[in-house]
Amino acid sequence: MSSFLSVRDLKVHFPTVDGVVKATDGLSFDLEKGSTLGIVGESGSGKSVSSSAILGLHRRTSAIVSGEILLDGVDLLKVSDEEMRRRRGKDVSMIFQDPLSAMHPYYTVGNQIGEAYRVHHDVSKKVAKARAVEMLDRVGIPQPDRRVDDYPHQFSGGMRQRAMIAMGLINNPSLLIADEPTTALDVTVQAQILDLLQDLQREFESAVIIITHDLGVVAEMADDVLVMYAGRAVEYGTTKEILTRPEMPYTWGLLSSIPEVGGDPNAALIPIPGNPPSLLSPPPGCMFHPRCTFQHLVEGDKCETELPDLVPGSRSETHLKRCHIRDSYLVYEQEVLPQIAPDLVEER
């Protein structure tokens, strides 16, 4: 029995005049109902492109999507456009990052939320509006029967994001993709939205993919984490494994480049040097090697010539990493951790 959502070797390639942009190149992951997958990575690492592919949002004329996306046993890449349209918003739905630009400024919030319902249910506008009020109430908007007639600009940022969530959940989707759902929000509102997402997930038993660059959000929300770099998964495993015993230098870089509010105040902030590579001409070998500061741990020029496979690390079968360094978790504990979190080393 396979998982509820099973993505196998997903590739999204964009042919351009300059060459093929491999935005996602061979991505595989599984997700069960009721659990949460966090996808982390920088912009351009393929997080959003991959999730758009699950929703079938790529135009056939401009993107070549291949691989398998099995949702409850059905390959979403093989179904007709008509069928995909029936599923989109109902089985699979998405919450976008910027609710102001994701909502139409000329229509009321209630109208837009109700529309999402009417597309999939043969009901009158009145019923749809009542349903919209119900959803607005569910996501914690005060006086929903009055606010339903407001326009998006009359909502605060947090309320808009709640309205987006209401829109995304109005058809009880079994898979919800949240693309940076709290990035534009303040911390106390972010906490409210994350609480809400978690409550709703429990209530509807949805599978959730949360795309973010905030490792703190991932740590608190996700069961599994997938770290992406330049279109590929570079580390994949349970949240606890990935965030406490990361085995890939890119993940180390992510952890070392963010200050922590509760961390050691003397911890250094070690950025990842350079910029993400161009996806038009990705570097040969390991995509991360031009920015990697641990290449000397690998004999020869393996990093420059050979793309490492995503294989189990040395500690656990379920913790996959894409790195040539042997026993890299030891390198993390002995070299990286003392620099970024001296207080944690003592605890261990």
Binding site: E42, M159, D186, G216, P259, E260, P265, L269
Partner: protein
């Protein structure tokens, strides 16, 4: 491709950075030259990017006293009468030490960005005073502001909208030089290239347009532009929040490097508490136009006394939670920030405060100094879980515990509205005045 491969910034051995102060034909103001004399030497890799340290004795380069900014709200229709005011900033006082950094944190709409813009005099304040380097700049005329712009510069949040898309990077970074006529026309380009190199960009790219750069690179352009005139005060308004995580660290380290080298004082406005903690030895928390707590970094983050600061800190998602699993216990704040057009009476936080009592609606809590470098505006100030049952401020304000004026009591003289810190403060434990000597 501009974003291909590493550009070498962030490498501790990067030797290009510190060459700035000694560059040829550099029209450094003399006093800046003095302060950077010893910083001309290369930054040692071990000490590079160290978080800045508080210097309590440093003289204040900027002093803000009871600053107010009210934006009028106009009615619709032909006759647009003023029907109210957005009290964006309402009585803010603080000092910024020369070469130091003060962090301003708070949620959107709390007035932190407006405060930054007031200091750069992009707005004219409704009330209060801003004293920069001994001069009152609150009412300086537009003409008088021109020299001021050399001293106080700003880095904007959004590197996409703060750079003119029709100007080349060379024109953007060189514009301040041309406007202020500090170098001859033929020296502008080499100077621009040096600046680009300082901020970790390829100097050959001066003739490119902003859209050809990534977000992190654009922010570097913004920093180069702010550095062009070698200001004494830099207002950084959310300088990294639009950037990718790995790039954020590069920019933060770059800002720390330029601060150390040129002795620039930073007013660091951000909503990211962790970034502010990393950057600023002193932090002020704002809520709805007022400072609710201001303290040195250690006190504010480890022993916050204001319920809002406590809620704010508990709301930050923590990577360490991965080891435990699940969500962290947090103080839940309900609802949204109230409208600044018609803020709540008394304490502005009371509508969302878990501690609020009658007095909070009646009397506004003063920003009371409760430690050597710690001020808090709350009737029930105390560490989390140790908030007092009775308002500590009642006797000081001459009111009873419910906030009604008490004819028997005389209000004591409070150190509330003064910027900076006094030598005496109110000890929360003993409920008496204490001083640094005792």
């Amino acid at each position: 491709m501009s974003n291909q491969g590493p550009i070498g910034f962030g490498d501790p051995n990067d030797e290009e950075l510190p060459t700035f102060a000694g560059m040829p034909g550099d029209p450094l103001p003399t006093d800046v030259e003095e302060s950077t004399d010893d910083a001309v030497t290369f930054i040692e890799p071990e000490s590079a990017h160290a978080p800045s340290v508080a210097q309590p004795d440093a003289e204040a380069i900027l002093e803000v006293r009871d600053l107010r900014m009210y934006f009028p709200v106009k009615s619709a229709g032909i006759i647009r009468r003023t029907i109210g005011h957005v009290q964006a900033v309402d009585g803010v006082s603080f000092q910024l030490p020369a070469g130091g950094s003060l962090g301003l944190v708070g949620e959107s709409g709390c007035g932190k960005s407006t405060t930054g813009r007031l200091i750069t005099r992009l707005y004219e304040p409704t009330g209060g005073t801003i004293v920069f380097d001994g001069k009152d700049i609150t009412k300086t005329s537009a003409r008088g502001l021109k020299p001021l712009r050399r001293e106080i510069q700003m880095i904007f949040q959004d590197p996409y909208t703060s750079l003119n898309p029709r100007h080349t990077v060379g024109a953007i970074v060189g514009a301040p030089l041309a406007i202020h006529d500090v170098v001859p026309k033929n020296k502008i380009l080499p100077r621009v290239q040096e600046l680009l190199e300082i901020v970790g960009l390829n100097p050959e790219h001066y003739n490119r347009y902003p859209h050809e750069f990534s977000g992190g690179q654009r922010q570097r352009i913004g920093i180069a532009r702010a550095l062009t005139l070698q200001p004494k005060v830099l207002v950084a308004d959310e300088p990294v929040s639009a950037l990718d995580v790995s790039i954020q660290a590069q920019v933060i380290n770059l800002l720390q490097d330029v601060q150390r080298e040129f002795g620039i004082a930073f007013l660091f406005v951000a909503h990211d508490l962790a970034v502010v903690r990393h950057f600023c030895p002193e932090v002020a928390v704002m809520y709805l136009g007022k400072i609710v707590e201001i303290a040195d970094r250690e006190t504010l983050y480890n022993r916050p006394n204001h319920p809002y600061t406590q809620a704010l800190l508990s709301a930050v998602p923590d990577v360490k939670q991965a080891a435990i699993g699940g969500r962290r216990e947090r103080i839940r704040l309900e609802g949204d920030v109230p409208s600044p057009i018609n803020p709540p009476s008394g304490c502005r936080f009371r509508t969302r405060c878990p501690l609020a009592q009658e007095i909070c609606a009646r009397v506004e809590p003063p920003l009371l100094q409760v430690g050597k470098r710690h001020k808090v505006a709350c009737h029930f100030a105390g560490e989390l879980g140790h908030h007092p049952d009775r308002p500590i401020t009642a006797s000081l304000l001459g009111v009873d515990d419910s906030g009604t004026p008490n004819p028997g009591a005389t209000p004591s003289e409070l150190v509330g509205d003064e910027p900076g810190y006094a030598d005496t403060w109110f000890d929360l434990e003993r409920k008496t005045m204490a001083s640094s000597g005792s």
